[in-house]
Point group: C2
Chain length 138, copies 2
Amino acid sequence: MSEKSYTVGRLAADTGIKAVTIRYYEKIGLLPEASRSESGYRLYSEADYSRLLFIRRSRGLGFSLDDIRELLSLADRQQDSCAGVEAKVEQQLEQVRSRLKDLRAMEHELERLTACCEGGAIMDCRIVETLSGETAAR
Amino acid sequence: MSEKSYTVGRLAADTGIKAVTIRYYEKIGLLPEASRSESGYRLYSEADYSRLLFIRRSRGLGFSLDDIRELLSLADRQQDSCAGVEAKVEQQLEQVRSRLKDLRAMEHELERLTACCEGGAIMDCRIVETLSGETAAR
DNA sequence: ACTAAGGGTTATAGTAACTATAAGGTCAAT
DNA sequence: ATTGACCTTATAGTTACTATAACCCTTAGT
């Protein structure tokens, strides 16, 4: 019945989250305080490992650490409805889409700029001209 | 031949960049130090106004303030080739595209998640399940 | 037993691009 | 003279880390 445990470095290697970051997550209360070895090393359990994976996957979806804190606490109440979780996912989806919209606009504008430069001197450069003046381009 | 000048608040209203931000730009050397009225108020010229518009437009394309610092110094050398500027624009375009790629992946994954939830309890929630376990989903 | 490499520990400061707060001075109008 | 809207400075907070310093622990090799 020996629970296997990980050191912070081991956990880092296994999850792809750096040791410093893991300690940081603990400090801000995203991970519970780890138990310690006799010499003071942090020791992590399987549960910690799972929690960290949850965090990593959520980060990969663009959730903020605050959002993740909420997600985790929602996920912890096994009996409750998952409506809260779904709401958060949808909210995140909207944020991502809004960010996508902005970035696509930037992409188009940048493409337009690269297209209009013909490689002369700055004083004739349409790029610089566009950036400088022309209050248009909303 | 009276040069008209703006106070920081006027400049803010005209450019859509907040007064605090304008002062901040001055502090980090993105804008030259403004001249002052007798009572110590900052006074801005048309040139400052243009420079600020340049900054705003560049920010709108996603350039970092450091990039903008470089862009400005490139743009200031009227005689030089605009190759440097073009390079920066292309580099920025690549960054934007890479960010777009990431965000599109997030969008798809989030869509997938919203689709799979059928509104039961957390313990049956496919979203939570997906976030928790399933090391797959690269 | 000694030592060196490669872990681990803490605390503090730095990053980007602002935003917020406090505590005060100035200007125009009533 | 006083109000309200402006201006000034300095300092701290934000997000999610990263970097640095200065030190302790473990393990393998000599």
